[in-house]
């Protein structure tokens, strides 16, 4: 038996998973999926930012294109911290492909002219 708070939506359901991987407490199928993933391979999407070279004291926001293993968060952050871009930037621009070989990219999430 394990308990989690679902992080999929603002509702934040209390999920319970028993030893046979039966999930209760979820109000939608995504909750069930989340609970199982949390037990087997917990993953997170990361948002952060990278410095804009050609602007004073300005960052542009980025995110991982998909989920990464929870245990890799700080390694991915170390890589993100090394990145920088030049303005203009467009949402969806790829700053770094396949970060740490995890199969996800680092994408720009903000338009800066």
């Amino acid at each position: 038996m394990k308990e989690f708070t679902c992080i999929i939506c603002p509702r934040g359901c209390r999920l319970t998973v028993d030893d046979n991987m039966n999930v209760t407490g979820n109000t939608c199928p995504r909750g069930k999926q989340y609970a199982i993933s949390e037990l087997t391979n917990p993953v997170r999407t990361i948002t952060s930012s990278v410095r804009v070279n050609n602007r004073d004291d300005l960052l542009v926001s980025v995110k991982t294109s998909g989920s990464i293993p929870k245990g890799k968060i700080f390694e991915v952050m170390d890589e993100i911290n090394k990145l920088s871009v030049s303005a203009p930037t467009r949402i969806g621009d790829i700053v770094k492909k396949d970060i740490l070989g995890l199969g996800v990219d680092i994408l720009i999430t903000k338009n800066i002219d």
Binding site: R51, D57, S84
Partner: protein, 480 residues
């Protein structure tokens, strides 16, 4: 090393006024302060009242300088471009037995040469609709006023510096020694030489005086805590509202400020440590209770800030304004507690004309300019309905502080003057950026970047207040 004629220790309101009066003469004047801005301590945290002078004991320095100083404010605030308004004060009696005390105060006022009027309950209620309806009467002093204390000191020093006074900040005096015919004043950073020294060190004046000789007076700092309310609506009070004075001081007052905020306080606690600016919930609760007794409807949910100030109360119960016992080239100006602010122009004039002049030969400068360069503010333009200057000058319509409507132009102007702000707080004092209801929540990042750019330093080096009070601790993602 350049030798000064007069060196003033302390750039609070007293030192500022002495410096400005000395600037009229053709001598070399140095003004020192241990803080990174002028008027940073007692002059910064007080009730911002230009007292009428009804309260000091007749015949004292306090009574004399208060009354003289009060009369000087119209001209001086005009010259220094500082907000000042003679709103009048009401000292209210809430119980029948207090009416007798009001009569005594009225007599005292007469002796001090202060115009006052005794009002009955109906008259008071008419003037102050929000006063406690149990009010029995009040002493009305029409000459009392409110003043922008921050800019009064800043502009006075600016005017002194514009007229040749040299300002040295971040200089904490550590020793004073008399050589043949001059003093050597050592600070934690430098050594100064001056023929004459004037001690205007506020809460630290006794410590400075003792560097020269034993003294028979002592400063016992008295801490006062205040509430600042937002300027959301006019008319909570229309005058400065005082309770009856006690041996602890003038009591907890309720007043509006020149910026339209309301100020409630101060408490009055003896405090050994003159650098203690902590606030405490119990004390504030007491302030609140006492103020509410006079004005029951004070909206304390509109409090945007609380602060504490330290008053340099003196064991002599009066201002000390005199030569050192052994040498006329050292002057002590100490114990300048309330009514010190209002007295300062008169003290400045007296010190220079009556104490310095007999000792040093003073020749008037031909080109002394009593005025500071005019200040322009979007907020004043709004009140005047005249946007000519704003529209004709770059940056005066780019708002940085939303709450107080402070523009980039006003900030750059403050930075371009002869006493430029070195910290976020110093800038806030001059321009009001960050003084509003959000307390800098929105504008502080912009202010920090503007200061960093102006001084050509990293934002990490911008202090909130004094040295070693940075706002930011680390730059992240330095990139390549």
């Amino acid at each position: 090393m350049e030798r000064f004629d007069v060196l003033i220790i302390g750039a609070g309101v007293t030192g500022a006024m002495i410096a400005r009066n000395l600037a009229k003469y053709d001598i070399k004047v140095a003004l020192l302060d241990k803080e990174n801005d002028v008027g940073n301590l007692t002059s910064n945290a007080n009730s911002a009242i230009v007292h009428s002078g009804y309260d000091p004991v007749p015949g004292t320095n306090k009574a004399k300088f208060n009354v003289l100083g009060n009369a000087m404010f119209d001209q001086i605030c005009d010259e220094l471009d500082v907000s000042f308004s003679r709103v009048g004060s009401l000292t209210v009696a809430l119980y029948d037995e207090q009416l007798k005390i009001l009569e005594d105060l009225a007599k005292r006022s007469k002796e001090n040469g202060v115009k006052v009027e005794l009002l009955n309950a109906e008259q008071v209620k008419k003037m102050e609709p929000n006063i406690n309806p149990c009010v029995k009467g009040a002493l009305f002093a029409p000459t009392a006023g409110i003043v922008d204390v921050f800019n009064f000191v800043v502009h006075a020093v600016e005017n002194a510096v514009d007229n040749g006074v040299k300002l040295f900040l971040n200089q904490k005096v550590t020793s004073i020694n008399k050589e043949k015919d001059y003093y050597v004043v050592k600070t934690d950073k430098e050594t100064f030489e001056s023929k004459m020294v004037i001690n205007a060190a506020g809460c630290f004046a006794d410590k400075i005086a003792e560097m020269v000789e034993p003294i028979d007076w002592k400063i016992t700092p008295r801490k006062g805590e205040y509430f600042v309310l937002d300027h959301y609506k006019a008319g909570l009070v229309n005058h400065v509202i005082f309770p009856l004075p006690s041996e602890k001081g003038k009591g907890i007052l309720v007043t509006m400020t020149t910026s339209g905020n309301y100020l409630v306080g101060p408490s009055s606690e003896l405090d050994e440590d003159p650098s203690d600016y902590t606030t405490d919930p119990m004390t504030l609760r007491n302030v609140r209770a006492q103020a509410s007794e006079m004005v029951p409807s004070i909206p304390f949910n509109q409090v945007i800030r609380v602060f504490a100030g330290s008053r340099p109360t003196c064991t002599r119960h009066d201002f000390v304004i005199e030569y050192s016992k052994k040498d006329k080239y050292f002057i002590n100006v100490g114990g300048i507690e309330s009514p010190g602010f209002v007295s300062s122009p008169a003290i400045g004039e007296y010190v220079v004309e009556q104490l310095v002049k007999p000792v040093l030969s003073l020749k008037e400068k031909k080109d002394f300019n009593p005025r500071v360069r005019r200040y322009h503010r979007l907020y004043s333009a709004m009140n005047d309905g005249d946007y000519k200057f704003v529209n004709e000058h770059e940056n005066y319509s780019e708002i940085i502080c939303n709450c107080e409507k402070v523009t980039l132009g006003e900030i750059l102007d403050a930075l371009d003057r002869s006493v430029p702000p070195q910290s976020v707080k110093a800038l806030k004092r001059r321009t009001r950026a960050g003084y509003g209801r959000c307390q800098g929540g929105f504008c502080q990042p912009r202010v920090v970047l503007i200061l960093a750019k102006h001084y050509g330093v990293s934002p990490l080096e911008i202090n909130y207040d004094g040295e070693f009070s940075p706002i930011l601790l680390k730059k992240i993602k330095e990139g390549k």
